[in-house]
């Protein structure tokens, strides 16, 4: 059984940051259609800063909780907008979940998804169907908390969660935004993907991919 360590956390965030940098323009375009086009910048810069901070702090003898808290603080202070507080709350919840552990067994990784979902839900007061990042996080969290029967190994569970998130993001196309900046557009928001849901699905895909590589390598 492999484990997930503080240095794995840095590695994971590096992967998050690379993906957000790659998706920067796409997310900006999606956001431009119904918002203000800043989502790509916020996600790319925020995760880059978090990854860098995690790498710099890695020598210190940190717990996973410390790592997630650090990432949360950096995102909060770097990003602003709604993305900052929401992902910061998500990571603080993950920090609480993994607490003082220095490493966890690999099969606890899916807990990170439900913890992050709860953090976002609590901070943003959003509901599924509002056309927000929650529409990707919610189905993903649901998969890992409810749907354990046919997926026993961790990688499959993460993969299923990522797929649920991707589908959830796609489903935002038919939704009318009722929270956030796009809500002012009302009916005109229909027909567009929600950029927050798209970036959330990308993060979850990165997590699944990262876990696949990690499991293969160890």
């Amino acid at each position: 059984m492999s484990s997930f360590t503080r240095s794995d956390l840095t590695d994971l965030f590096r992967a998050f940051a690379m993906r957000m940098a790659a998706d920067r323009a796409l997310l900006g375009e999606l956001d431009g259609e119904i918002g203000d086009a800043d989502h790509g910048v916020a996600m790319a810069d925020g995760f880059e800063a978090a990854a860098r901070a995690l790498a710099e702090a890695e020598d210190a003898d940190q717990t996973l909780g410390d790592g997630f808290t650090l990432a949360a603080q950096v995102l909060l202070n770097k990003v602003g907008a709604t993305t900052g507080p929401l992902y910061s709350s998500a990571l603080l919840r993950a920090a609480k979940t993994f607490g003082t552990e220095r490493q966890i067994s690999f099969d606890r990784l899916p807990e990170m998804i439900s913890a992050m979902f709860e953090g976002i839900e609590t901070r943003g007061h959003g509901k599924p169907g509002d056309k927000t990042m929650l529409d990707a996080w919610w189905p993903a969290a649901h998969v890992v908390t409810h749907d354990d029967t046919d997926a026993t190994d961790t990688v499959t569970r993460l993969r299923n969660a990522a797929q649920a998130a991707a589908k959830g993001a796609e489903d935002t196309r038919a939704m009318m935004a009722s929270r956030g900046r796009a809500a002012r557009l009302g009916p005109r928001s229909i027909g567009h993907l929600d950029p927050g849901a798209v970036s959330a699905a990308a993060l979850l895909e990165v997590l699944a991919d990262w876990a696949t590589r990690h499991e293969g390598a160890s």
Partner: protein
């Protein structure tokens, strides 16, 4: 998707009735065939089974009477195009799309009326019709009429629901049967029972078994589509009183006859499935004719799911809903074909030249430059690059005023820091709220021991970050009060004022609050005055061209060569509606009309006026607009005490204007006249 192909041209030559989507409107049908399908008059004559001179007369009539859209009634034409697209895309036999606006009756009633007409026409003697429940179904049932039918049976598609609502399954079925002169067959059981065993027992009861057997013979089902939003029929019907949607129906987006479906229309199983009495989804799909009646933006996802799942053979909806459904499927709204009016498109801006180094350094470099340009007034807060304070701040015993928001609104926000204005500002990334850190640093820098007032525009990011910063400041013993501006009248109706954006009205609110703080009033008093100023500000913005992102250099949304966006946000986000470009006077009228609609003359007839460039509109045009604005205000006996005109609250390089009016009373007027000295507003 089923019956694709049985579309518009499927009518046999002997069937000379207009296809459903034209209603009974022969002229509309003829005009459609001629203008839209390009048939000759002779071909139309064959198709309609009339003589060629008749076709000629129809077309002449259609041109002279207000019936068809191209030259006549756009709403109907739109609806037709949409109905056609819906039919083609989803393989429907029939689709009736009613205009979304029109008369004053609610959408549900109008959908019901349209469905009633259609159902009355489609139903044949000897049919068994199954019907679900809900507002739309009842609206339809009360309006339907056809006295010529014989041996029609109407049967409830499900058992009964809670009696708390008037549109129960029994009510819908009974009323429909009455108005069709049909026999009503109820289902003598609840729609939801407490346990699967109860259902099985009930289904063995001879009475119910007989009723269910009739249901199984349905030739036609008429159903509404419910969303699963908290306000939806399925909730008020009591379906989820004992079952958590969250645990069991997370994949569901809508429901038909009390059965849950996913975004693709697949059945979503849950604990209710085994406890529901009525038609199930598989049985519904086997009914030969399946008419769905539903509309409204909140239902788009649910209706789309029903269409994708193949539950629908005929649909009655409204134009906005149809368009939204098609947009969700990637269909581009076709521009109206009409009398050809070629317009020379202006070359669209795809890339914009800007004075930048690395885009990501833009905000920090702009702040550095601003500090140098205004070094007599502004100072950086030590160690926090995105917090800036006034050189004189803090002043002991004075309430500190902290403002802030995203960059890209220059001279907003740092232009309003200085003597008699804000004490400190927190600056975010372009169009993004600042994080709590700089807001907290600005709060500490502004604190003179009498508390701090936060003022910012109503955006979810600003709310979250300022709220967090205020909590941190309170924890450090600094009392904070917050005033959120909501002056953008285009962004939400008056009864939802708290949902409105805060835009250029900020400028006046900052000034009033700054003067109040400067007079050493208490924190509560300053906050109350700022609130009053905020309530009395009304702003309306119009854009001719979008601004361009500094990150990509591309326009932030696209606006056609002849289009103008009304009610634009200040973050490059699209506005509320779009219209063709108007002249300066027409534009000023459009803005002032909207503002005058909301003016409460009890709040005074003296105003402060801000004619604000959104970035790329020059002063010359602002002056032209101002001339008309003043004339219109004068005609309403509204006098202008102060005019600000120029770049006060921009949206990068958007081409456009916003107009703000603040209604004054003696107290606000005095505060407005107080001296101040800040980079963007100085008066002695």
């Amino acid at each position: 998707m089923g019956a694709r192909g049985r579309t518009r041209d499927a009518a046999a030559p002997s069937d000379k009735r207009p296809p459903t989507r034209f209603g009974e409107d022969t002229l509309l049908w003829a005009a459609w065939l001629y203008y839209e399908e390009g048939l000759t008059q002779a071909e139309i004559a064959t198709r309609m089974g009339v003589s060629r001179p008749s076709v000629n007369a129809y077309l002449a009539d259609a041109r002279t009477r207000d019936i068809v859209s191209i030259e006549i009634d756009p709403a109907r034409f739109r609806a037709l195009t949409l109905a056609q697209a819906m039919q083609d895309h989803f393989g429907l036999n029939d689709c009736l799309v009613i205009p979304s606006e029109g008369n004053d009756s609610p959408l549900i009633d109008r959908l019901g009326a349209a469905a009633a007409q259609l159902l009355g026409r489609l139903t044949k003697s000897g049919e068994t019709i199954s019907v679900t429940w809900g507002r739309t179904m009842l609206a339809m049932a009360t309006r339907v009429s056809n006295g010529a039918l014989r041996d029609v049976r109407v049967v409830q598609a499900t058992g009964s629901t809670t009696a708390k609502i008037p549109w129960t399954p029994e009510a819908c079925a009974t009323r429909l049967a009455e108005n069709l002169g049909a026999r009503c067959i109820p289902l003598s059981a609840p729609a939801i029972v407490s346990a699967p065993q109860v259902r099985d027992m009930l289904l063995r009861e001879p009475v119910l078994a007989e009723q269910m057997a009739v249901l199984a013979q349905a030739d036609r089902i008429v159903f509404g589509v419910s969303s699963l939003r908290p306000e939806s029929t399925i909730h008020t019907s009591g379906f989820f009183d004992a079952v958590s949607i969250r645990d069991h129906y997370h994949a569901a987006v809508g429901s038909i006859a009390g059965r849950m479906i996913s975004a693709t229309g697949a059945r979503v199983d849950g604990p209710l499935e085994e406890r529901t009495i009525g038609m199930d989804l598989d049985t519904i799909r086997k009914v030969p004719e399946r008419l769905a009646v539903a509309g409204g933006m909140d239902k788009v996802q649910a209706i789309l799911a029903a269409l994708r799942g193949g539950y629908v053979t005929a649909l009655v909806t409204d134009a906005d809903t149809a368009r939204a459904i098609l947009n969700s499927e990637g269909y581009e709204d076709r521009p109206m074909r009409g009398p050809e009016r070629p317009t020379e498109a202006l070359p669209e801006r795809t890339r914009v030249k800007k004075f930048l180094n690395r885009p990501r350094d833009a905000v920090d470099e702009a702040i550095a430059g601003a500090l140098l340009a205004h070094e007599d007034r502004l100072v950086a807060v030590d160690g926090v690059p995105r917090a800036i304070r006034a050189r004189q701040a803090p002043r002991p015993g004075k309430v500190g005023l902290v403002i802030g928001g995203g960059s890209g609104h220059e001279p907003g926000f740092l232009g309003y820091v200085g003597q008699g204005m804000a004490d400190a500002v927190a600056v975010g990334n372009v169009f993004a709220a600042p994080p709590p850190d700089p807001i907290l640093a600005a709060t500490i820098a502004a604190d003179g021991g009498a508390g701090v007032l936060h003022i910012f525009g109503n955006f979810s990011g600003d709310l979250m970050n300022f709220e967090m910063a205020a909590e941190m400041a309170e924890a450090k013993g600094i009392p904070v009060r917050t005033v959120v501006t909501t002056d953008d009248i285009a962004s939400a109706p008056l009864d939802a004022r708290s949902a409105r954006r805060g835009v250029a009205g900020n400028v006046f609110v900052f000034k009033i609050a700054g003067a109040a703080c400067n007079r050493m009033l208490s924190l509560d008093r300053c906050a109350d005055l700022a609130s009053r100023a905020a309530e009395r500000c009304m702003t309306m913005g119009v854009a001719l061209e979008p601004g361009a992102s500094i990150d990509t250099g591309r326009p932030s949304f696209s606006l056609g060569p002849d289009a103008m966006e009304i009610g634009v946000g200040v973050h490059g986000e699209p506005g509320v509606t779009r219209t063709e470009v108007k002249s300066a006077d027409e534009t000023a009228d459009l803005i002032v009309d909207r503002i005058l609609d909301e003016i409460d003359l009890a709040n005074g007839t003296e105003v402060a006026l801000l004619v604000n460039s959104l970035g790329s509109t020059p002063q010359m045009e602002l002056y032209i607009l101002n001339r008309r604005l003043r004339r219109r205000l004068h005609a309403h006996d509204i006098s202008v005490h102060v005019t600000l005109l120029g770049h006060y609250y921009t949206s990068l390089d958007m081409v456009g204007v916003s107009v703000t009016l603040m209604q004054l009373d003696p107290e606000l007027k005095e505060l407005l006249d107080d001296p101040c000295d800040s980079p963007a507003w100085t008066q002695i």
